[in-house]
């Protein structure tokens, strides 16, 4: 085991750096920038049972130290992901990939997860519960402990792979949702997804995003994410993956000190395509600076 290695739900990672879903496509296109085998793993583009075009454009706005996106889960659907994207990935990535799944009904989640459970390349299922529940009045699954637990149970029923529930930060008490997922059988928790936000164009007096609202990410959200990871890591016994505004090796250390066993890096990939490689390369020097021999010593349990 190296200084950077960590274990994520039974699978050894060379390092804790994981490009986050929605910022890394299906991985293979990033092989043009660097050898992506240096990553711990990565979480692929949020995949749904059926193909989705997503929201109208503009889908992107900028804010101080961050960005706002309203892409709307554009993806080719789980069948095409398995048929076309995973074989392309296999040519350039020899590690297990984290499959990120979204849905708009409990049955959607289960259907997509059941298909991905069959894939040897998939090491973990990361279930994004920030989507609106079309059968539940459009409220996000992730804002209601009962709905979050229902999705968790449905997914656990169809897979033997570790299930990581990815939480929305747009809630009053993140620990209530985390505990509900844990009790329903989740193997791990990842957080935070984006915070809801918006911008208005002063010239047109209209919202910048066609969807009006979107998800804020980038360094602006790091302190919020850190706080929620700290709270969640102390509220559940299952492993927690921290994400939200990480751009440096120091951010990774801070997130692990808050209780994360691994870290996802999102928006940084969109500004600096080599961000994750740079963070991994910078980690040993940052650890030396703070007297950390092995990342495993930062685990809170």
């Amino acid at each position: 085991m190296g200084r950077l290695s960590t274990t994520l739900l039974g699978i050894e990672l060379d390092n804790p750096v994981i490009p986050a879903s929605g910022t890394f496509g299906f991985g293979w296109e990033f092989a043009q920038w660097y050898d992506i085998n240096c990553l711990g793993t990565f979480s692929f583009k949020g995949t749904t049972k059926d193909p989705r075009f997503g929201n109208p454009t503009p889908r992107i706005a900028e804010c101080a130290s961050g960005m706002i996106n309203a892409v709307g889960l554009q993806n080719p659907g789980v069948d095409q992901v398995i048929r076309e994207e995973l074989p392309k990935l296999a040519k350039v990535f020899r590690k297990k990939v984290m499959a990120n799944v979204s849905g708009f009904s409990v049955a959607d989640y289960a259907a997509a997860c059941e298909r991905l459970d069959q894939e040897e390349q998939v090491g973990w299922l990361e279930v994004n519960i920030s989507c609106p529940n079309v059968h539940g009045g459009g409220m996000s699954f992730g804002t209601d402990p009962a709905a979050a637990a229902e999705v968790t149970r449905a997914v656990k029923k169809v897979t033997r792979k570790p299930v990581i529930m990815k939480l929305s930060p747009n809630v009053t008490d993140i620990t209530a949702i985390a505990r509900a997922c844990e009790e329903a059988g989740a193997d791990g928790i990842s957080l935070i997804n984006t915070l809801q936000g918006m911008r208005i164009n002063l010239r047109t007096r209209q919202p910048v995003l066609a969807n009006v609202m979107g998800g804020v990410s980038g360094p602006a959200v790091f302190p919020v994410a850190l706080r929620m990871v700290w709270q969640t890591a102390r509220a559940v016994r299952i492993p927690v993956i921290g994400m939200g505004g990480i751009t440096t090796a120091e951010d990774v250390l801070e997130m692990m000190m808050a209780g994360a066993v691994a870290c996802e890096v999102g928006a940084a990939n969109l500004v600096d395509p080599c961000a994750c490689k740079r963070i991994i390369d910078d980690l040993p020097a940052a650890m030396d600076k703070y007297g950390i021999r092995n990342l495993s010593e930062l685990r809170i349990r």
């Binding site: 929605g22 910022t23 890394f24 496509g25 296109e29 990033f30 043009q32 920038w33 583009k45 075009f53 997503g54 109208p56 454009t57 503009p58 889908r59 992107i60 706005a61 900028e62 804010c63 101080a64 130290s65 961050g66 960005m67 996106n69 892409v71 554009q74 910048v208 980038g218 360094p219 928006a267 990939n269 969109l270 500004v271 600096d272 395509p273 080599c274």
Partner: protein
């Protein structure tokens, strides 16, 4: 696609809002219609700007100051450096030009047509360029396209310079193919007014500029495309206009 640090050789205004930025240190040759994505201190997202010209390691872009980012860029000085992603997007396809190609540019849609004109002229093709602007004070590029040996017509919407009207009011009678870039209303007008095939370069708000975020997706007759990756140039026949 490459991430490089480029050094500012010069950065000066051509009009009250359009600047010419010459950068040194480019490592890869840009194709006409491609763009670069510039990182600016204090701004999270990069600024995508189309390539105007390249001569060896000197890469030139023309940009308009439209917000805090480009205004900050306009204050940068010779010798300062920029973190730039180069070689982005799919450029114009020169192979379809035919015997007498037509270039139609509007405002800051003019710059990407310059490198295209240069390469078409290098193939000894007769090139007609119609450059459209709102008003006399905004006109740029006329002399540069003439120097390449292009037949140039300038239009202004208010008639203060050149032909009064839009680029579509100054179309030549005969052309084999066209290449265009400009604001969307102009592109729609060009789509209706032209009688040959052609290629359109589109603009969209981008997250990354290299295909990762799906921020600039559009629907086309040949499927979903990313303006930053499969675009920004689309063929006339594949365009689906959004309502």
């Amino acid at each position: 696609m490459k991430q490089t640090i480029l050094t500012i050789e010069s950065n000066s205004p051509l009009t009250s809002a359009v600047y010419r930025l010459d950068l040194r240190g480019a490592e890869e040759m840009q194709r006409p219609g491609q763009f670069i994505n510039i990182r600016l201190a204090g701004h999270f997202l990069r600024r995508p700007i189309s390539v105007y010209d390249q001569d060896g390691d000197r890469l030139t872009v023309l940009y308009k100051t439209v917000g805090a980012g480009t205004e900050q860029l306009s204050r940068m000085q010779r010798g300062e450096t920029l973190d730039v992603l180069t070689g982005l997007g799919n450029g114009y396809d020169l192979g379809k030009a035919g015997t007498c190609p037509l270039l139609l540019g509007g405002g800051v849609g003019v710059p990407p047509l310059y490198l295209l004109a240069k390469e078409l002229r290098a193939k000894a093709l007769p090139v007609t360029a119609v450059l459209g602007f709102n008003t006399r004070e905004e006109v740029f590029g006329e002399a540069e396209f003439r120097e390449l040996g292009c037949e140039v017509t300038v239009t202004t919407a208010d008639g203060t310079y050149g032909t009064r009207g839009f680029v579509t009011d100054a179309l030549p009678l005969n052309y084999s193919y066209f290449y265009t870039c400009g604001p969307e209303p102009m592109l729609r007008a060009v789509y209706r007014a032209t009688n040959t095939s052609g290629q359109f370069s589109f603009e969209e708000r981008m997250g990354c500029g290299f295909g990762a975020c799906m921020g600039c997706s559009c629907k086309t007759i040949t499927g979903q495309k990313r303006i930053c990756r499969e675009g920004p140039v689309l063929e006339k026949e594949e365009i689906l206009w959004a309502d």
